[in-house]
Structures are given as structure tokens and as C-alpha cells.
């Protein structure tokens, strides 16, 4: 099965339409080890390094992908699309996901999904039938359900931060059957793990998406274990199920409103609500908030999120992090200090 790659600043890209067209959806995450060199020819170095890393990967992987899709997200997706399209050879697709989830936005969203479906059909000569879409949704839901169950084990079992990251990375990059198989293996293995290590402090992680394991390792090294989060490479991806009882494209629109919200969406109070609920449900009182350098949506929200959670008596640290494969010593020191405060 051919791979269809997508660049998404949240969890907005409708993977199921791509699956129904007969492709394996592949979320472009860049390769922090490879850096951003080739992309820096086209994008200033003071732009989001993750976005530059993604373009860097695309420039190298050009021929491996049958097509590339973008979902309307942050300034990086919205403004870099044209640059990608100019320098890469594949068919390109733009999905104008809305900024809101109110009734007006839903009508538009539905039209956008319909157009995307029609564009794929035309470009690849395939028929994306309601039955195929429904099957793709069912498959996605099975994946999400397994991920939910596995993620819940973070609070009670010894599941490291990089292992959790790897579970989500696999889910957004590997062929669907392989993902189900892999999650099945984890379902057999993770419950048998030792109990949550007493030496570690459980925290919730929020902010820009963590797209490489290095940052998760830094947190692990600092003695902080992520047991909840609201990241797109995390709970945003599997928190909700896609409704199966309504017409498939309508279901995708509804699903969009059920997800934990990223900072690019309005009203952003829903993002805070999710964090508060997650903290309350899990009995957590510590949060690591971070933004990737140059990531505006999360950096702008940071003072507000930090203040609001502090008002709730939550211990919270906010950091700006680099896009680097090497151990970020400065971040490690700050996280270690934070951990000491929590003990």
C-alpha cells in the first residue's frame, strides 16, 4: 500500500479519507537528527524548527510518497504550503479545517472534507465510497481505543516517556494493520510491567507537540513521568472515538469537535478545560508546559495557561525548548529543579 504523507500542526488532517482511498496515512514529523539544512534554503531560520524539519524530510523523501496533504492549522501550515508545493513533485492537497467548531464552521468543514474526498478521487482514479470511509473509521477507532487503554497504564505501570512517544509515533506513521498488531503486542506486555516507579514524579505535559523522543528522554532523565498530556502526538490523537452511527464525513466533523483542542483553535478555553479535567481525573498536581522555539500559538497561550493552573493550586513550569537531538542540559537542570520542588 502506498504512503500518503501529511503535514499537520495538530490532529486535524482527516486520515480516514486517505485510508478509504487505499493509502497509508503518514504524519510527517521531520527527523531531528537530519536537522533542517535543506529546508533552510527556503524558510528563514527563525521559523518553527519542527516545520522546517518536516520540509527537510519531505525534500529528501520526495519520491516515496504518493501525495502530500496539509490541514489548515497554524501559520506554519498555512504559509509554508505554497513553498512545499513549489519545490516538491507530488500531487498536493489542502484541507481547510476551520478554526472553530460552531454550526457555521461545521457546515464549512463538511464541504472541505467533501472537496478533499473528490480531489483524491480525481487525482488517483479511486472511488471513496461511504462503505470504505466507514471501514476506515472503524479501523481508526480500534486503534484509538487500544491507545486509550494503553495510555491509561502510564499512571500505574512503569512505561517510560520514550515508550509512550514511540506508541503514538507508530500509530501516525505505520501501516494500519501493523499498528494494530503492534498495539496488540503492547497490550500483552504493558499490563505486566512493574508498578509505577516510586522514584519518579507523575506530571501532565502540555504545549507544542513533541515530535522527537529526545525531549521525552530529558523529562525521564529529570525524574518526571508523563502520565497525562494534551498533545497531538498523544491524547489529542486518541482521546475521542469517531462517531460510527452517523454518515462518515459528518462523523469526521463531529469527531473534530470532540478532540482536546490545540492552541490554534477558538475558543481556546476548551484547551484549558481539558487540562483541568485531566488533572482532576488523574489526581495530578504537576504540569510541564513547554513551547518549541518560535511556536507562536503555544508561546502566546503560555502566560495564561500557567496563571490559570497556578490559580488552581497546580505546580507548573513553563520552558521554551530547542529542536535538537542532543541532550538539552539547560532544560534538564530546570526540570530537575522543578522535580525537587514537587518532592
Amino acid at each position: 500500500m502506498q504512503t500518503f504523507a501529511y503535514f499537520d500542526s495538530g490532529h486535524e488532517f482527516p486520515e480516514e479519507i486517505v485510508m478509504a482511498a487505499g493509502f497509508t496515512p503518514y504524519k510527517i514529523l521531520g527527523d531531528v537528527e537530519a536537522g533542517t539544512g535543506a529546508a533552510d534554503e527556503y524558510l528563514h531560520t527563525y521559523f518553527c524548527p519542527f516545520a522546517r524539519g518536516a520540509l527537510n524530510q519531505a525534500l529528501a523523501a520526495d519520491d516515496d510518497w504518493a501525495g502530500i496533504g496539509f490541514a489548515h492549522g497554524c501559520d506554519a501550515t498555512n504559509r509554508h504550503y505554497d513553498v512545499w508545493r513549489r519545490h516538491l513533485g507530488q500531487p498536493f492537497f489542502w484541507v481547510n479545517t476551520p478554526m472553530k467548531t460552531n454550526p457555521t464552521a461545521r457546515v464549512f468543514h463538511r464541504r472541505g472534507l467533501d472537496d478533499f474526498r473528490a480531489d483524491l478521487e480525481k487525482a488517483y482514479g479511486v472511488a471513496i465510497t461511504p462503505e470504505k470511509l466507514a471501514a476506515a473509521i472503524r479501523q481508526s477507532n480500534r486503534i484509538k481505543e487500544k491507545m486509550r487503554r494503553l495510555a491509561a497504564l502510564r499512571a500505574t505501570r512503569d512505561i517510560t516517556n520514550p515508550e509512550y512517544f514511540e506508541m503514538v509515533r507508530t500509530a501516525v506513521q505505520e501501516p494500519r494493520d501493523r499498528v494494530l498488531e503492534y498495539l496488540g503486542e503492547l497490550e500483552r506486555e504493558w499490563p505486566a510491567r512493574p508498578a509505577f516507579p516510586r522514584a519518579l514524579v507523575p506530571v501532565l505535559l502540555t504545549g507544542s507537540d513533541v515530535t522527537f523522543p529526545g525531549w521525552m528522554e530529558v523529562m525521564e532523565e529529570a525524574g518526571l513521568r508523563v502520565v497525562r498530556d494534551d498533545l497531538s502526538l498523544g491524547e489529542r490523537y486518541f482521546h475521542a472515538a469517531i462517531p460510527e452511527t452517523v454518515e462518515p464525513l459528518k462523523a469526521l466533523v463531529e469527531y473534530y469537535a470532540l478532540q482536546p483542542q490545540p492552541a490554534t483553535r477558538v475558543p481556546s478555553d476548551r484547551r484549558l478545560d481539558y487540562l483541568k479535567t485531566a488533572l482532576w481525573e488523574s489526581g495530578l498536581n504537576a504540569v510541564v508546559s513547554q513551547n518549541l522555539k518560535f511556536c507562536e500559538p503555544y508561546a502566546i497561550d503560555a502566560p495564561w495557561i500557567v496563571n490559570e493552573l497556578k490559580k488552581q493550586g497546580i505546580r507548573i513550569i513553563h520552558l521554551e525548548r530547542e529542536y535538537t537531538p542532543t541532550l538539552d542540559h539547560q532544560a534538564l537542570t530546570r526540570l530537575e529543579t522543578f522535580r525537587q520542588l514537587l518532592e
Partner: protein, 435 residues
Amino acid sequence: MLKFLTQHRDVALSGIKGFKNQPLTPKLFGLMAEYTTKSKIAHANPWRKTGAPTAGFPIEFLLAFDIFPIHPEAYACYAGSAGVTRSAIEQAESMGYSRDLCSYMKTSIGATELGWPCDFGGVPKPDLYTSANMVCDTHVKWMENEARRRHAPYFGLDVPSHVAGSGEEELERDIDYLVAQFSDLVTFLEKHTGKKFSEEKFMRIIAKSQEACRLYDEILQYRRSLPAPQYFEYQRLFMLPVAVMWNLDGCIRYYRKTLEEIRKRFGPISPAASGEREKYRLIWEGITIWYKVDLYYWLAERGARFVYEQYTESFAIRRRQTTTFNETLRQIARELLLLPYTLNLEKRIANFERKIDEYDIDGVVLHANLSCRPAAAAQQDVKAAIQKSRSIPVLILSADMNDPRSYAEGPVRTRFESFIEMMEARRAGKEAAKS
């Protein structure tokens, strides 16, 4: 104001010096003062609400509810022109806003927090906030957060991206979406003003804003003349009345009078030489460097003048006259989707090529604005395309529109010196070819 003058004497004094250094006519200075004075006293009228929009937001909807526009970006530009942004920005950074974030936003938040008046960047508390996302994420995040901080309601307009490769079909779909949102906006404004929307009144306002934009655009067109009647350092202030629309009648009178004077001086618009051509006619893409008007003076001394900017053009987009209400809504939506400032790469390059020809351009400066990533996207491609199709020098200049900490005088001037040398070499080559 008095309190500010006594408490922040240094800021006030350096601000006055900064304003005095601007190329202001008494009339334009008077208009700038009128806007801030009215902003300060707008609350005194209990029948009139105030609203904070961002650049590009269709202000006419606010005006249809008699809402006075409290324009945070405009005040941030005042602070930039006054050259007093640094401590306001540092104040915002001390509140947790990153060094890498937009310096308009930080000037505004910091100056407001410090209690500065709007002439120096502070924002009087509005009754509501509105913004749109077609230009940047910051517009949305900034206004929504400020609305929350100041306990005021917020409305966000979602403008889809008309990316490269999109056609009329997508445009029509996106227009439908915006028109539906205008209806949500009207509901929001009715709720928060307690007034009923009147189509007739809205259409009267639109007719005025179309007239103001038409006049302003004609003045812009005159900049094709050789020499141009106005340059960027003046244009960036001259656009204030149409950008903010706090007094549309006054705006129309002002532009009409200016246009009459220009017409008298230049006759009909003609790109043909009507006087002495500037040595180097330039385009500036991106926001101006507000605190560095001296850079433009320094360039002027060397014969380099900016005669076209997408930035100053984008504030007068209501140029096409419409008659019916529905047609007007669809036209406003179209204008939001095809703003000169946010054109997709294909259209942006085509627009550059057209303007280079129309305005007889010798060189292009692309402001790689450290504060404004969205606007600085794809500049490398723009540069390559223009150099290829028009063979003129293109300079990518790294600076920041409101944060003087990101401006290095020496390197900037050195870069401009080599840029001028390149234009000079091209000019000499052309002249040699002619003779």
C-alpha cells in the same frame, strides 16, 4: 496623560522627539492626535461602545453598531514611531511573553500594563474584541487573550487560506463560509451592544469606506508618477485614517483634498516622466521599521525611495463599488481572502511582477521581519522569481518592525550600500546599452 507625563517623563520626552522626527504635515499630525484623543474619551459617551479589531478585520461591521474602533496595532505603531517600545516590550516579556513573539503584541500588552496612554501604545479598555486569522495566528491569540484578561467578549473570524493552486470554486466555497460568519458576527454585536443591525446603515457606511478606499487607492496610483508624490515613510502614517476608520467623513475629506492637490500638481495619472525621476525607485514588502524613520531619510539622501508597498495598499481594499447587501457581503469576503498582504505565492509573485512594471521599479526590499513570521514566509522564493523574471536586485533585510533590539544600524547600512551599488551597476549597464 498628565500622570503619564510626570511618571514616565523619559518615555514622554523621547516619544515627543520621535514624533517630531516623523515626516508629518500639520494636518496629518492633527488627525493622529484626533484619533488618540477620541480613543481616550470614547468611553465618556454611554451610548457608544468601543471595540478592538485587528488589522484587516472588516471594521464597517463595528461602525454599523456605532462602535468606536480602539485599534491596538495602530497604538503600537504610534509607540514605534515615537521610539518608545523597548520598555513596553520588556514589560510584556516579564509577564511571560517570549522574546520571539510579535513586537506589536508585546508593545501593546506591555504599554497597557504600564498604564501608558494610547499615543504611546496603551489600549483603553474596549467593550469587546474582534480579530481574524487571515494574516497570522497572533491576531487571534492576542485578542482572545486580551479579551479574557480584560473581561470583555471576543469574536474570531475564521478566514480560510486561499493557497497556491486554489481556484474560483474554492474561493466561492470560502466566501460562503465567511458570509455565514458575518451573520454570526452581527448576532454577536447585537448581543453586546443591545442594538439591532440595520442593513441600510451598514450600506451607507460601506459606501463611505469604498469611497475612502477609492480615493486612497488613486493617491497610491499616483505614486507611479515620476517622481512619486509620496514615499513610504509618509505613506505609513498617511494610511491611518483609512486603516482605522474612526471618522470616515473626515477621512474622505482629507483624502479628497490631498488627491486634488496631487492632481493639480501631476495632472492625469501617468507613468511617463512628469518631472525628475527618483534615482532608485523601490518596493518594500512587509511592515515598516517604525522606530527607524532615519533609515528612510538616509536612503532618500542616496536617491533610493520606496514608491510601492503591499502593506500600505492592504489597508484600502474596499475599492470595488457594490450596490446590494448580498453582493457587498460577498465582496468583503473576497477582499479578505485576497488581501494583497496575504496573497498566496503564485499570486504574490505575479503581483510583484505587475507592480515592478507599473511603478518602474529598480529594486525590491523584502523585510524579513523577526516579529512577523507569516509575512516573511517564502521570501526566498519571491526573491528568486523576481530576480529571474525582472533581473532587478532584491534585498532580504532582517529586522523587526517595533523592537529596536533586533536592529543593527551598521550591518543594515552596509547591506543597503551594496544593494545601491547593485542598482547603480544595473542602471549604468542599461544606460550603456542605450547609448
